[in-house]
């Protein structure tokens, strides 16, 4: 094989490197195999830059050295690749929203009482940002916590005409619980004989 020209060697080095490659690093790497001057490397870089004048890439110099990057003009196309999978709301998020829907107007402390765990500020902020929840007042207790309620937008999103279209909580309960309620304590004692 004929000796590759310097600009092609530099092309290989810059592409193979994870981080931008400094002029010094290029000179060092090339010197290990052939004599080279900084000036020659700099000239070869210019040739290389000229070679990448067209096409999707450009060779640019940043603080720590040279690197190839996709031209800004193609960023929009690239974005199509990275379409994020539709995320899902967390369980905590949905529970918080459900409690606000059923228990409104409600303070964060009350939501926490029901869930048994703290509600993150993040969740509250997202609910407010989405326009699903709004602050309808402040409770007159120390700290004056905000009182939350759902919005019309929330109803629209879930295709409800009003909150009364939410199913009653009793219906949501598990069938066992429902059965116990319907058939009284008898069923309960039968089901759990150990309980006093």
């Amino acid at each position: 094989m004929t000796q590759p020209t310097l600009d092609v060697v530099l092309e290989a080095l810059i592409f193979a490197s994870d981080a931008p490659l400094s002029l010094d690093a290029m000179v060092d790497a090339v010197s290990a195999r052939q004599d080279v001057t900084r000036k020659a490397v700099r000239e070869a870089l210019e040739q290389l830059q000229a070679r990448y004048q067209s096409g999707a890439l450009e060779l640019i110099e940043v603080a720590s050295g040279y690197r190839f990057q996709v031209r800004q003009a193609y960023a929009g196309w690239v974005q199509q690749l990275e379409q994020e999978k539709p995320q899902r709301y967390s369980r905590a998020f949905l529970e918080t929203l459900a409690i606000i829907a059923y228990r409104q107007p409600v303070t964060r402390g009350e939501i926490e009482d029901v869930r048994g765990v703290a509600v993150s500020s993040n969740i509250m902020r997202t609910l407010l940002d989405h326009g699903w929840v709004r602050v309808v007042g402040h409770k007159d207790v120390p700290g004056r916590p905000a009182i939350y309620a759902t919005t019309r937008h929330f109803l629209d999103y879930f295709n409800l005409k009003g909150l009364d279209e939410l199913p009653p909580l009793a219906e949501l309960r598990d069938p066992e619980q429902l059965a116990r309620e319907l058939f009284g304590e008898q069923a309960e004692t039968e089901a759990e004989p150990t309980e006093s």
Partner: protein
């Protein structure tokens, strides 16, 4: 015992008896472990011995190789080297093969299938294939060693994250979870009022946060009918109970006003 062993013929290469551990194989006792580690097991060691003879496996004199292998094992044992079980199993197999040679055998091969020699040859050939395949695999150009993928940076565009979709069923399911836990903890206050009351509570609160101080009667809308009025009334009572609003009457029989509790003596809160 070690002395006796090493002075005897320890191997045979072709017809040449070998009385010393060959130079290229000789490993000082303290490095014996390293020696054994250079082999990937008894099959590998056998293959090595066969190659030392520079013959094809097919043409190999199994009994000669057996001899050599057994000598190795003996030397290793004499040096009190702890042999891996596989080497000893192989030694047993080879011993069996050897014993068959010594016994008079019928001309017809009695049972080819469980002939340990046939099985050994088969295993050696099979192992040799994969040993070669491993070498071929190692010779393939591979990333990081021979090949490097081209790294480029990609300019970032500001972008909005798509919002997750959520169904009504999922919301209800979440509430079901809350209820289950609440029941476990003995909280029964989750379900107190009818939802219409709670919705109305929110509406009243919102109105009050806008208008601050409203006559009680303006909260009611006659067009809603009796039920609507009752709902509003219950909502106001509940709000009072929960310390969210207060009712104000300056003197008996004067109009009742409603305001959010604490609003008037609070200047700092937004």
């Amino acid at each position: 015992m070690a002395d006796v062993q090493t002075e005897q013929v320890i191997a045979r290469i072709g017809e040449e008896p070998v009385r010393e551990v060959p130079q290229d194989l000789y490993i000082p006792p303290d490095a014996l472990e390293v020696f054994l580690e250079t082999f990937e097991g008894p099959l590998d060691l056998l293959l090595y011995l066969i190659r030392k003879q520079n013959v094809d496996i097919l043409a190999v004199d199994v009994s000669a190789v057996t001899e050599q292998y057994m000598e190795y094992i003996r030397v290793m044992e004499a040096m009190r080297f702890e042999l891996a079980a596989e080497y000893l199993v192989m030694a047993a197999t080879l011993a069996e093969i050897k014993s068959r040679f010594l016994l008079p055998r019928r001309q017809e091969a009695e049972e080819e299938e469980d002939d340990p020699r046939a099985e050994l040859i088969r295993r050696l050939l099979e192992y040799e294939r994969y040993k070669k395949a491993a070498e071929d695999l190692d010779a393939l150009p591979r990333l990081e060693r021979d090949l490097h993928t081209a790294q480029v940076s990609v300019p970032k565009l500001p972008r909005e994250k798509p919002r997750p979709q959520v169904s009504f069923a999922e919301l209800l399911d979440a509430m079901r979870g809350v209820l289950k836990r609440a029941e476990l903890h003995g909280h029964h206050h989750v379900e107190k009022e009818k939802l219409s009351t709670r919705e109305r509570m929110s509406e009243v609160l919102e109105r009050l946060s806008r208008d601050k101080f409203v006559p009680f009667v303006t909260l009611f809308r006659v067009e809603e009918g009796r039920l609507g009025v009752v709902v509003t009334f219950l909502a106001v009572l509940e709000l009072v109970k929960e310390s969210m609003i207060e009712l104000i009457q300056n003197e008996p029989f004067s109009p009742i006003h409603v305001r959010v509790r604490g609003e008037n003596h609070d200047a700092t809160d937004a």
